[in-house]
């Protein structure tokens, strides 16, 4: 039987942040995820924003963690080489009714200890954001709302945790959790049983199913679908800030913002559904985004869309972010209701979980050899020409551009595949180096990426998946 001290279930943003935090201590950690790649569910399809927590429910754990997490990103993104930008958000009031709500929103921010929210006049807003609806009456500016590459954040935390000894078992599904005398005993997986002292349930959409295995299913996960548009980086109408709508009682509404790679992101919808797998977009959903966002940015050009996708946020019923440990089940830590703020709060949650473990008697000792830094794959297209020249001379594969939309070279793709916790699928390559992320959506590079994956992983092309097993790209050879 495999043996470890802590099993983290779920390799999303939260699971990987916890694993990285734990890897600072002398303790054995294993992360298990049913997906073939880290960050394979909610962490990959969100709005890629690092929030300040200005609009959280004051006094809640969610408020506390989001507010604490935001300032951590300057350092963690530098340490882990994650694309991150503090661009700020604006919250324009388009109607008089919305305008009257501004003081209330600012006061709520204050109660969340977000003190840097500023009031801006109509003129100031239109100067900051010329594409804004000219009807705007005034609004708020939230300077520390930021954008990030969410894929790289999760990969970087996972890679760094791995470099510090954390074991990752991907493509491995947890089927049961065994307890003995009110204590965690082991986790049963499709890759064998793992003896462990602790289980941390950070399974996101599936955390209720994991909780059920230990009889702690006091809640249900409700999948809340969010549909998005991504627009071409050359689209005619671009915004400089995260443009947020004034929330209503029913919904937080749909936003428009730049992504860290220069595209425009528009959305999301908020649709509760039974299914935890149905990530389909719909005509109605996409049309509702168009209608709502035009109210903020009238000239948004959705014809410049390069993709539409949807993600499922794991909402909780009853609602809210919960952290639970139980007197009658030693070693079990349950996280639930890690919803749209999950990406932001992940880094604070890592610290919170470790501290709680200590409060509950875990004897965690600092390692003296913790590696705090991680270097990402060098992006050829962002280098000055002299550096590009040197890179090609060092490795001729840098001279071979595979993805022409994003100028991604074969060298970058090969590194994405061969790094620890490397890419095994077409989508995993895309999430690491952006091959296929551009306007042709893999039309040119897709076939080549399949060939490179098969070559590097030494397998047949029909064994290459788009993401998880069953998503085969080709059916086999046409000539044998």
């Amino acid at each position: 039987m495999l043996k470890t001290d802590v099993v983290v279930i779920g390799a999303g943003a939260v699971g990987c942040a916890i694993a990285r935090e734990l890897s600072k201590y002398k303790i054995n950690v294993t992360v298990v995820d049913k997906n073939e790649d880290v960050g394979g569910d909610a962490s990959k399809s969100n709005s890629a924003i690092i929030h300040t927590g200005y609009d959280a429910a004051p006094g809640t754990l969610e408020s506390q963690l989001v507010v604490a997490a935001n300032p951590m990103y300057d350092e963690i993104t530098k340490d882990l080489d994650v694309p991150f930008k503090r661009i700020g958000a604006i919250l324009p009031a388009i109607t008089d009714e919305q305008f009257e709500k501004l003081p209330e929103i600012k006061e709520k921010a204050f109660r969340n200890h977000v003190y840097d929210v500023e009031f801006k006049t109509k003129e100031e807003l239109l100067e900051m954001e010329p594409e804004l609806n000219p009807e705007v009456k005034g609004g708020l500016f939230i300077p520390r709302e930021s954008i990030i590459d969410p894929f790289i954040l999760v990969q970087a935390m996972a890679e760094n945790a791995n470099a510090n000894g954390v074991e990752f078992m991907l493509g491995t599904k947890v089927t049961d959790i065994k307890t003995e005398n009110g204590k965690i005993k082991s986790v049963v997986t499709t890759a064998g049983e793992i003896e462990t002292k602790y289980v941390i349930n950070s399974a996101g959409l599936y955390c209720d199913e994991i909780a059920e295995m230990v009889g702690k299913a006091e809640y249900k996960v409700v999948a809340r679908k969010g549909q998005f548009y991504i627009l071409d980086n050359k689209t005619s109408c671009q915004v400089n800030y995260i443009v947020l709508p004034i929330p209503t009682k029913v919904t937080k509404g749909k936003l428009m913002c730049p992504t860290i790679h220069g595209n425009m992101l528009v959305g999301p919808t908020a649709e509760d559904q039974e299914s935890k797998v149905d990530k389909s977009t719909s005509t109605e959903g996409l049309e509702s985004i168009a209608t709502d966002v035009r109210n903020l940015v009238p000239n948004v050009n959705l014809r410049d869309t390069i993709t539409q996708y949807s993600g499922l946020r794991p909402n909780r019923n009853p609602e809210g972010l919960n952290f639970d440990m139980y007197d009658d089940l030693e070693g079990y830590i349950n996280l639930s209701g890690v919803r749209s703020t999950g990406l932001t709060l992940s880094v604070a949650m890592g610290k919170y979980v470790v501290q709680q473990m200590m409060y509950h008697g875990a004897n965690l000792e600092f390692k003296d050899n913790f590696i705090s830094k991680r270097k990402g794959i060098i992006k050829f297209c962002e280098q000055p020409v002299e550096v590009q020249d040197a890179l090609i001379k060092e490795n001729p594969l840098y001279g071979n551009v595979i993805c022409r939309c994003e100028t991604i070279t074969e060298a970058e793709i090969v590194q994405a595949i061969n790094r620890p916790i490397g890419a095994k699928s077409v989508d995993a390559v895309k999430r690491r180096v952006r091959a296929g992320m551009g306007r042709c959506q893999g039309g040119f590079c897709g076939p080549k990426v399949i060939e490179i994956l098969a070559r590097e992983l030494n397998c047949a092309p029909e064994d290459i998946n788009k993401n998880n097993p069953g998503s085969y790209m080709v059916t086999g050879r046409s000539r044998v």
Binding site: K234, G443, T475
Partner: protein, 420 residues
Amino acid sequence: MYNMNYDVVVVGGGPAGLAAAVSAKEEGAEKVLIIERDNALGGILQQCIHPGFGLTRFKEELTGPEYYSRFTDKAEEVGVEYLLNSMVLQIDTENKQVICTNGEYGMVCVNAGSIVLSMGCRERTRANIVVPGTRPAGIYTAGAAQRLVNRQNTMVGKKVVILGSGDIGMIMARRMTLEGAQVVMVVELMDYLAGLTRNRVQCLDDFGIPLKLAHTITKIEGNERVTGVYVAPVDENKKPIKEKEEFVSCDTVLFSVGLIPENELTKNASIEINRITNGPVVNQYMQTSAPAVFACGNVVHVNDLVDNVSAESEQAGKYAARFAMGKFPAAKKEITIQTGNNVRYVCPHKISLSDEAEKIDLYFRVLHPEKGVSLAVKCGNEIIAQKKEFKVNPGEMNCITVDTSKVTDGEITVEVMKED
């Protein structure tokens, strides 16, 4: 950085680039270089293994490889040089420099007398036309599938639905059928065929593949791999009629929904782009708004016949060579050609008038199908060229020749006139 010097530098070694390079050389340019990103010359024709090329030019029915081989042979013969596996990252129109990658030399800066853009086009995707549903494996553009099947020895699926009746879509319908797949149907939004009639006969009718005109895919299903699509007829506003929606089981969806000129380099070089074609604005010499830069083939406007591409590219190569040699005709005046009744665009977009009288081929596409018409070029109110046509179709390029000696002061307009 490695430096090279050439008279004419051609960006892209597909049919357009090959024809331009050969013609530049034949016109007298001493050193001509093609920069190609792929590992071989020929461009997209390498995967177009089907026949139907060269009917106008060679009066023969050639396959893609046979067609481009005639040009690569010629290029070899006249001494065109080329760099393979090399991607152009930047074009400096002012200093006439092209910067590209190359595995052997590192970053290369090519100093040129003139530059020809022939990067071809790319396919519109599912996302461009916003087809809702899931995002499983098994969704390909027709061209990507064609590359996998014809060049990479892989089969993309077993049961296929194709959206769009463009030529590549229909050709892939036949190709997949010959390879043993079942093509369930070809779905076309418009109420007429997007591609050539010949392809409908030989690629669909021959194999009993149903063509659903005025239909569209309303949703894609499947979580890991495609499991099916919903297909519905559309009303006169192209909106799907929901009540008539039907589920069609399949494991593969191919999109053949149009091509877009590949103009990232052109745009980055601040060359003027035409709003309709999405390609650079050119005159009859295929010269762009940057005087030393010429453009030809699908990067300018999407053609249906490679024969036209070759002809237009030879023009680009010829004048690029003249430009490099300092023998370019001096323009007295430049006239923008206007689009009249039922004309979507005209290429070239401009005519440059010099002392020499010339005969210029104006290529254009119509907006909608029409029968029993006459194509006309007017200068002011006077008809300076006219040609009868049994029918016109948006899927098929039209051409009319105009003599510049007949051009007077008025505005030039191309239009489709009803024959009485």
